[in-house]
């Protein structure tokens, strides 16, 4: 508290007194936890790939440090700058994604990456927060002037994004982006009838994805009927969590993780379950839930539509991604390549999330000593 004087008018001083410190604290706890967990889950995979045991852990450390810098750095930016950067950034990302389709390398039948030196960049990860902010900007126009067909324009943009991502193909990201977009539309006042029809369209398009993308079909088949194919990863994940019991086997003691191919990325929750126990899994869930709920409830006092839509979208993206990943680990969702925010190994995904959460912090900066008059929406213990 005594770092900055209340009369300090420097950028840092103003930031300290206006930023949502609870949110910042939770994000830092999550990042540190992620670093710790990367040390236990990744050596097994690194050794299996014939790399230095700490290969992934070291790189993860670099990514997490960069993430921390990004979160704080972005949260320092003025809202106007963020909006402008996103509006300019969106076409750039579209261009990069088109590049992945043409010159990007193909891994596992998908071209989602661009090779830059020894790092691979996945532009679609960065597209998520940027697209959410642009959507918020478009939809916030509806709050002021209904003459602009903002929802229609946004819908067209959404279709374009879906088209790009499905070409990679990346059904999982498309699904996530569409889900968040729909939530933003709902917040922007999309009538219930439309929401319900959109839900139906969502189900239909999932069925179509099932029809047209063989890997989606096989994953869903395996989820519905485990006997129909190889459910090795999911089985192993469940086995790992079961083996851990409530208190886990202890750090580094996991054995099921040795046979989990993606132990350091998509299935890190299972490794945590095995080594630290179901209770640690609960704590991690609580941490995610805390970030999401704190973030959303905090927005109840927000007056500006753009800030509300953008921040809510970013938080929901973060939360949905965590829930989908954990759901897959717990075998209650079909397997899908979705990372656990700040915990899974992966540079693009982590930096993109840092960007997103940094923007959330920037968007929710305000004078902490002036409260909204909307007492009807203030919950005890939330603000």
């Amino acid at each position: 508290m005594s770092i900055f004087s209340r009369t300090d008018k420097s950028i840092a001083g103003r930031w300290w007194w206006t930023v949502d410190r609870w949110m910042l604290g939770l994000i830092i706890v999550l990042i540190v936890t992620g670093l710790w967990l990367a040390m236990t889950a990744s050596p097994a995979v690194a050794e299996r790939l014939g790399l230095d045991p700490l290969h992934f852990a070291k790189r993860q450390m670099v990514f997490l440090a960069l993430s921390l810098v990004t979160v704080v750095g972005v949260s320092l930016m003025p809202v106007k700058l963020i909006r402008r950067l996103c509006i300019v950034g969106l076409p750039v990302l579209f261009f990069l994604i088109i590049l992945t389709l043409t010159i990007g390398p193909v891994y596992n039948g998908a071209s989602r990456w661009l090779q830059i030196g020894s790092f691979t960049l996945q532009p679609s990860e960065f597209l998520k927060p940027v697209f959410i902010v642009v959507t918020a900007w478009l939809l916030s126009a509806d709050f002021k002037d209904e003459a602009i067909p903002a929802k229609l324009i946004s819908f067209a943009l959404m279709l374009f994004v879906a088209l790009l991502l499905l070409n990679q193909p990346d059904v999982g990201q498309t699904f996530l982006i569409a889900l968040v977009w729909l939530a933003q539309m709902a917040l922007a006042g999309l009538p219930m009838v439309w929401l319900i029809s959109a839900g139906l369209v969502g189900v239909t398009s999932l069925l179509m994805a099932y029809q047209f993308f063989p890997h989606v079909a096989s994953r869903i088949n395996r989820f519905i009927d485990p006997a129909s194919g190889d459910t090795f990863q999911t089985d192993k994940a469940v086995e790992a969590i079961e083996a851990g019991g409530l208190f886990g086997k202890g750090p580094g003691e996991g054995t099921v993780k040795l046979s989990l191919p993606d132990a350091h990325t998509d299935y890190i929750f299972a490794v945590i379950g095995e080594e630290f126990g179901a209770l640690a899994g609960l704590l991690l869930l609580a941490l995610f839930a805390g970030i999401v709920l704190r973030g959303l409830m905090h927005l109840l006092e927000e007056e500006e539509p753009f800030k509300l839509l953008a921040a809510a979208g970013l938080i929901m993206q973060f939360g949905a991604q965590a829930l989908i990943n954990i759901g897959v680990n717990l075998a209650i969702l079909p397997s899908k390549g979705m990372t656990l925010p700040f915990v899974s190994y992966g540079g693009s995904s982590m930096l993109a999330l840092a960007l997103g959460m940094g923007m959330v912090l920037a968007l929710t900066r305000r004078n902490r000593f002036i409260t909204s008059d909307r007492s009807t929406f203030s919950f005890p213990g939330v603000t």
Binding site: I241, E242, A243, G273
Partner: protein, 566 residues
């Protein structure tokens, strides 16, 4: 002005209500997230509680990942895949001699751990100043641990492989052995050294025709006989007469290929393939077969065996003299040398030599061993030579050659070379089947009848394993010593084939200088010493080989039996 104001008011109103909707829906979204988070939490706890100690143990068991060890040399397995030779990872100790500073202390410690080394030798090596000097190859894990504990950085280990023969002495002569660097220097290890070391094929074991169970039964019975009769050695073979595959090949005394370097020289001689012997009466089969096949004699013909036959300075006499004219089956069953010599005389030396040559008796056997014996026979194959060769004297062949020849006599007349490598029934089983029709199927049938009758009522009766219709021939040869024969030093052998009505397997047993014992009433000939071994081997192995005992079809031998006078 009012217009503008009212518009602003309206806008304000829409904005406000839109914000209300947004906030309400935000709460709904938050609630939805909360519910899903709760569901995940429930599922996490559910999975965490479902662990039971037993379940975890089972999952651990399933998780054991066996790394497939890759070695530089192929395994050798028997026909059923039983491992006969394989590899183990080991460590070998070397030193970087110019880095050792406390030579005498280090050397003392090393000698204590490795008692086979001498102090002077180790010190000399450590003083040599070379960057690399071997100290000891193939350490045990415990020795390696102890040397590591010395903590001298100049002592280093090199990953090495050691060849292991899990069955020890069993089949040692067939497998051979390797030198310290793993190069085959005897037996199959030497013969197939190149392909066993072939880096592209180290996963493929070399599959032998041997059946280690049969090998064990033969080795066990043979060594019991060797010790009972105080023989200097023994040899044994079990062969598939229709494919030439050797199911067992034993040579006694034997050695442990795991420690071949320290075994006495004489144990390493393969008496079944390398040593050649004058094998005696078992050879009668060949001359009779040649004469029958050429139509020179008939089964009903009789020859004068009334008294010993004088040929020049040499006298041919019988071991079991009947002192009368003998029919052909009687000559065979009573093993009459006199009768045999007369048949050879009828056949002629040239034809006899040609016949034995076509049977492969005059060339080393084409076996997959480096140690294959060269037969010994007279350069001048005249009348007297022909007569003695007819009953197996004056010609030395290896047991494997004799077995191949007898197999040809009983399998319908086809010469099928003996082999130690498993034949694939689908691809190369029939490869050699037509390689040489030596005698007609009809002659082969007659030989089978005579072999069976020899066991039923002749000299081979002690080989009659009840129910297995054994046919066979004894062989008792005096060992040549200094230009004459020694009546007391015998090579006693017996070659048996079963079942005689449909020959499948041949069992050959040889004892080198057996002594007569009480149970054999002092006799040491093949019928007394080797025949019982053949019988026991058949009784032990026939069930393994799928040959069923059955009642004999008497009509098969009626014609031959009628030719016997007593």
């Amino acid at each position: 002005m009012t217009d503008i104001l009212s518009r602003t008011m309206t806008l304000e109103g829409t904005g406000k209500s839109a914000m209300e909707v947004a906030r309400t829906r935000l709460i709904a979204a938050g609630a939805l997230f909360l519910v899903v988070f709760m569901a995940m939490a429930y599922r996490t706890v559910e999975l965490g509680l479902s662990a039971t100690p037993g379940a975890e143990k089972a999952s651990r068991n399933r998780l054991v990942q066996v790394a497939v060890a890759r070695y530089k040399r192929s395994d050798i397995v028997d026909r059923n895949g039983e491992i006969l030779a394989t590899n183990l990872a080991s460590a070998s100790l070397y030193a970087n001699a110019h880095k050792v500073d406390d030579i005498s202390v280090t050397a003392q410690k090393l000698v204590k751990i490795l008692p086979t080394l001498t102090l002077a030798d180790v010190e000399r090596k450590l003083k040599s100043g070379k960057d690399f000097v071997w100290l000891k190859r193939h350490l045990t894990p415990e020795q390696k641990w102890q040397i590591n504990a010395i903590g001298n950085p100049a002592l280093k280990f090199k990953a090495d492989e050691v060849r292991v023969y899990p069955h020890g002495n069993l089949a040692a002569h067939v497998l051979g052995h390797v030198d310290i660097d793993g190069n085959g220097i005897a037996g199959l290890e030497h013969y197939f050294n190149g392909s066993l070391d072939d880096a592209a094929k180290t996963d493929e074991p070399l599959k032998l025709s041997l059946d280690i169970r049969v090998q064990h039964a033969l080795a066990d019975e043979l060594s019991a006989a060797v010790s009972a009769h105080q023989a200097t050695g023994g040899a044994g073979i079990v062969m598939d007469v229709n494919s030439g595959e050797l199911l067992a090949m034993v040579s006694l005394p034997d050695f442990d290929p795991n420690n071949a370097g320290n075994e006495p020289e004489n144990t390493r001689v393969n008496r079944a393939a390398f040593r050649v012997y004058e094998l005696g009466s078992t050879f009668k089969t060949f001359t009779i077969a040649a004469a029958l096949d050429d139509g020179i004699i008939n089964m009903e013909d009789s020859f004068n065996a009334v008294k010993p036959l004088n040929v020049g300075p040499f006298t041919i006499s019988d071991d079991h003299p009947k002192k009368r004219y003998l029919r052909v089956p009687e000559i065979f069953a009573y093993s009459s040398n006199i009768g045999m010599a007369r048949i050879a005389d009828t056949l002629g030396a040239d034809r006899q030599k040609e016949f034995l040559s076509s049977l492969g008796m005059l060339k080393p056997a084409k076996l997959e061993l480096t140690e294959v014996g060269r037969p010994v026979f007279p350069q001048r194959w005249k009348r007297l030579s022909s007569m003695t060769i007819s009953y197996g004297h004056g010609i030395s062949v290896s047991p494997v050659q004799l077995s191949t020849g007898i197999a040809t006599m009983v399998n319908g007349g086809r010469l099928i070379p003996a082999t130690l490598v498993a034949k694939n029934i689908d691809t190369n089983f029939g490869e050699n089947a037509g390689s040489g029709q030596i005698i007609s199927a009809a002659t082969s049938r007659k030989i089978r009848q005579m072999l069976r009758v020899t066991v039923r009522q002749g000299t081979g009766s002690k080989a009659d394993a009840t129910g297995y219709r054994v046919g066979g021939k004894t062989g008792t040869a005096e060992k040549a010593s200094g230009g004459s024969y020694d009546r007391d030093a015998l090579i006693s052998s017996f070659v048996g084939v079963f079942p005689m009505d449909d020959p499948k397997y041949l069992v050959f047993v040889l004892l080198d200088e057996p002594k007569g014992i009480e149970q054999t009433f002092g006799f040491s000939g093949g019928g007394w010493t080797a025949a019982p071994v053949v019988k026991n081997v058949i009784l032990r192995t026939a069930p393994l080989l799928g040959v069923k005992p059955s009642v004999e079809d008497e009509t098969l031998y009626k014609n031959v039996a009628l030719l016997f006078e007593d």
